[in-house]
């Protein structure tokens, strides 16, 4: 899962750079292109609390992720790039960083939650 998270984060980052700095209007196509990865990540996360965190925290994080997914699903058919970029760059990317930050701080892969 670590590889997928890293790839997905990188792809969303590229999309966001295009949106913010190059005025790209391709966010819908770009996020649509990574939807299978988003789905795989979401299924993995929502399949159960496997991360050693409290049930309350897990429920909160799950609700956050569902909110992000809902916005992405809402934005794509309406070609709403503002909502889509917001959900992907300021929502999902931050969420993915929860799983990458530990590695950044400690340089230890073991900080990533173990795959189920």
């Amino acid at each position: 899962m670590e590889g997928l998270i890293r790839e997905l984060h990188q792809e969303l980052y590229s999309m966001s750079v295009g949106y913010l700095y190059y005025r790209s209007r391709k966010a819908v196509e770009e996020v649509t292109g990574v939807l299978p990865k988003i789905r795989e990540f979401a299924e993995w996360f929502l399949s159960g609390n496997q991360f050693g965190i409290g049930a309350e925290d897990y429920r909160g994080l799950s609700a956050t992720l569902l909110g992000i997914l809902e916005d992405i699903a809402d934005a794509i058919p309406r070609k709403d790039r503002v909502l889509l970029h917001d959900a992907a760059a300021y929502g999902l990317m931050g969420f993915l960083e929860l799983f990458l930050e530990g590695e950044k701080e400690d340089g230890a892969e073991g900080d990533l939650p173990a795959e189920s």
Partner: protein, 625 residues
Amino acid sequence: MGQKETYLRNLETLERHYPGMRDMIEKGRKSLGEEVKVMAEEAYDGTRILRVRTADGECYLSGKREPRGPAREWARTLGNLQENAPVFLMGVGDPAYLEELAGHAGRRLVIVVYEPSLRILLDFLERHEIGGWMGRHTIVFCSGEIEGMSWGYMRSIIGRLVSYGTLPLTRFFVLQNYDVLFPEETLAFVKACNETAVNEMVQFNTLHRFEGVYVKNLFANSRHLCSCYKTTQLPSVIPQDIPGIVVAAGPSLNRNIGDLRDAKGRALIIAVDTAIKPLLNAGVEPDMYVIVDAKKPLSLVEDERARDIPLVTTVDAASEVLDYHRGMKFFANEGVWFVDRLFARRDKEAGTAMEGGSVATAAFTLLYKIGIQRVILVGQDLAFTGNRSHADGTFEERMPEEDTSRFLMVEGNVEEKVPTRGDFQIYLNWYNSYIKGCQEHDPDFRVINATEGGAKIQNTEVMTLRDAIRKECGKTVDIQACLGRLRPLFEGEDREWAIGELKKIPDSCGELQGEAEEAAALYRKLGAVCGKPTMSRKAYLGVLKKLRRQVGKVERHEMYQLANQSLNAARYIIQNEQLLTYDSVQEEGMEIARKGALYMESVARCAGIFQEYARQVFDGWEPGE
């Protein structure tokens, strides 16, 4: 402060800056339709954000999680904007963009906000106090839904603010999602900005291309003015109930050039210079032909049969062609000061310049201005029909095929799509808008595109040339007999006066040289005053006053216009840097002095060269009858 108070205070601010704007906005507010629905929501941090529904879609204009994030990043990418830099912003539905721009820019900017929806603009004005920003910057608010702020108005603002010199400092930005919610308005905005920028670049590059030959042509061709005719004389002798035919030299002319024989004596046939040889070789003698190109090679028209065909031209066209030509020469006003002054003695009618930028568009506007109601276009491909640029027999006997695989494709007249290039597309856009304007002004004006190939021109009727001649060319006419009724513009005393004025040109150039040298000396003096450790305010203001008077004298001089055109690149550098700011008046004064002296020295040098050339042209010149 409540919404109503904020709104009223903003209206007062706008009224103070733009008298009449309060009523315009209020009038628009009272007749607001239901086409745009604005729904306010709260972002996660409590910021008010908008979700907007139009006939074209429904979208957010700010994000829920980081409503200010994109605007902040955008402002960062703008870098250090120069003082008075024009910034065009389409959309105020995410107010963070204008806030970032107007609130945080360190320098005074000229901000033009175009908001297609008045409802969104009102929502903004009800919640954001603009008084502070309007004090720090020049801000113009426009909305297509306010009466009097049509696209013509918007275009005029863009045209006034964007020049070749300010182009590198100008910023254009369309807020994300406006293209989804307001696709037509967004396209129109982008097109208006793009066209202005392209026109500025084309104008600069054209001047740059021709600046080396401009004055040479102008002086040499001026000799023809004393026996010339003016295009404004044509409506008095050309019947307006016959069709006019513009014969351009596009590749499709190969397909129907022979058909033109049937139009002779049944229409006013005007050819472009490049089409003259193929036409004569096909047995078609046009009634007139046009040349405007300052570098047109003589070889393109060098044919004994072409020498006496009446010529419509400009005073800066290739002088070799005008010298070679023997027949009637028709000129139009082109804004050359000394030429227009000569014309004004006999003809007060101005605004008769040919337009559009190409020789064919010049011929087209001439026909329209003569008052002809039906114009037939032939060989006006504006595209590479059959992958060729021109008709056979123009630049080469058989024009070669070119690789057009990477060319821009546009809708075709006959084929579905045809390849074209940038300059052709500019002319195509010009035709599209010019014909529309002509037809708005005169609904009976018709354009028949009998170019059997090429790009599709809007608002034209497409038919074969054979059909067009059969349907439209029913009446016979002897154009040469019509033109024979005209008298030259200058005769008798007027002619003597015009010759006398032209012979004064060398002295006039010398006069400009003296005035420019005097201005350069004053600039150097200004530099010396500013360069002193303690600058004397009195001395500074004194030199400035003298400079203003002297520069005014230079700039009003008839020959200055020619020097200014010939110093295109130098003018660009000065225009480009005029918005730069300096740390002190002293520093700024020294920079003004340095550039001013350099420029005036260049003007003086130019005038000296002009004088030398003018002497060669006019000393000992004895015009024949």
